[in-house]
Symmetry: C2
């Protein structure tokens, strides 16, 4: 970030979200975002590759953090790993971020292209988590199904966290989701 434009990235993000809500994502241009933020397009592109990136920036850091959760989980059971992964995720999704995340989610849900982007992200996250299991010696197929379970727990937790009336924090929700998964599995007599 250039010294003479403190918080330019943040101003652009706020301007973009406002415009996406007012006009729709497709009807908003980078020029309009820059104008609303009283910055230049050149400044925009110094912060974001395109207007979609305003919504998805930081995903790689999140993926890396969640993969680190797999690498450092004390046990390799999917529930133990889900617990660890959700604790890492909680540091990304704090209450300060929640209002932005909620508005962002509504913009995404209204736009099929963005929904697809979100699904692709989940698929990549699942691959990353499976790689994390494999790196710890878990065989391929086991790693793949375990990763599906872990990412499913993350996804359900995130959906609860951004839901309009939800006030519980991410860690509390994550613990509840893993508890529900445990309860579901307790119905599996054969386990």
């Amino acid at each position: 970030m250039a010294r003479w434009q403190p918080d330019a990235g943040e101003r652009l993000r706020v301007a973009a979200l406002d415009l996406f809500e007012e006009r729709g994502f497709d009807q908003t241009s980078v020029a309009q975002i820059a104008q609303r933020a009283e910055l230049t397009e050149r400044t925009f592109y110094r912060h974001y590759a395109d207007k979609r990136e305003v919504l998805f920036q930081g995903q790689e850091q999140l993926n890396d953090a969640l993969a680190a959760g797999v690498a450092e989980a004390p046990e390799l059971g999917p529930l133990a790993v889900a617990d660890e992964v959700l604790v890492r995720a909680a540091s990304f999704f704090d209450d300060e971020r929640r209002p932005f995340s909620r508005r962002r989610q509504q913009v995404i849900d209204a736009n099929p292209e963005l929904v697809e982007r979100e699904r692709a992200k989940m698929a990549h996250l699942t691959d990353a988590v499976a790689a994390g299991f494999r790196a710890r010696g878990v065989p391929d197929v086991r790693a793949a199904v375990a990763a599906g379970t872990v990412v499913s727990a993350f996804q359900v937790t995130f959906e609860l966290w951004v839901a309009p009336a939800e006030t519980r924090d991410f860690t509390v929700l994550g613990r509840a989701v893993v508890g529900e998964l445990r309860a579901a599995l307790s119905a599996d007599a054969a386990l």
Copy 2:
């Protein structure tokens, strides 16, 4: 299917797959598919809504069958339900279908738009399975995470089944995948 054009749907499907492989999905038109099958475009549209549908037709029947597996599973644990769902799926994925499914998968994997379509299908399947759990009295969050686990087992089984050198049938693979999930969960001391 019109009586004077036996197997027109099948001929169109073969022609489409041949062309998708030869030229790529994007470079193939409905007119070319019809011509290759020695049928008219009108006949094509009597069988498929568009060229993409040639690859995705039958998905609703599959979803319905898998949802019925949730409705009729003897127990409500995710592993028991996955077992039941995979047995239903096996009737769709028999050895006669496998060569087509393999070629189809390669066409899909080569085209981002088709990959997205496939991901959307999995998301809808997850919703359908979750609805099946809820219909049997499983609370919302539990239904959502259990569905994620079940669909993950289906997805991994399907991926194995279409893999180039795989010869085991769908039922055998499904049983192996659920076994791997069970083995993974046995590492969860807290379960």
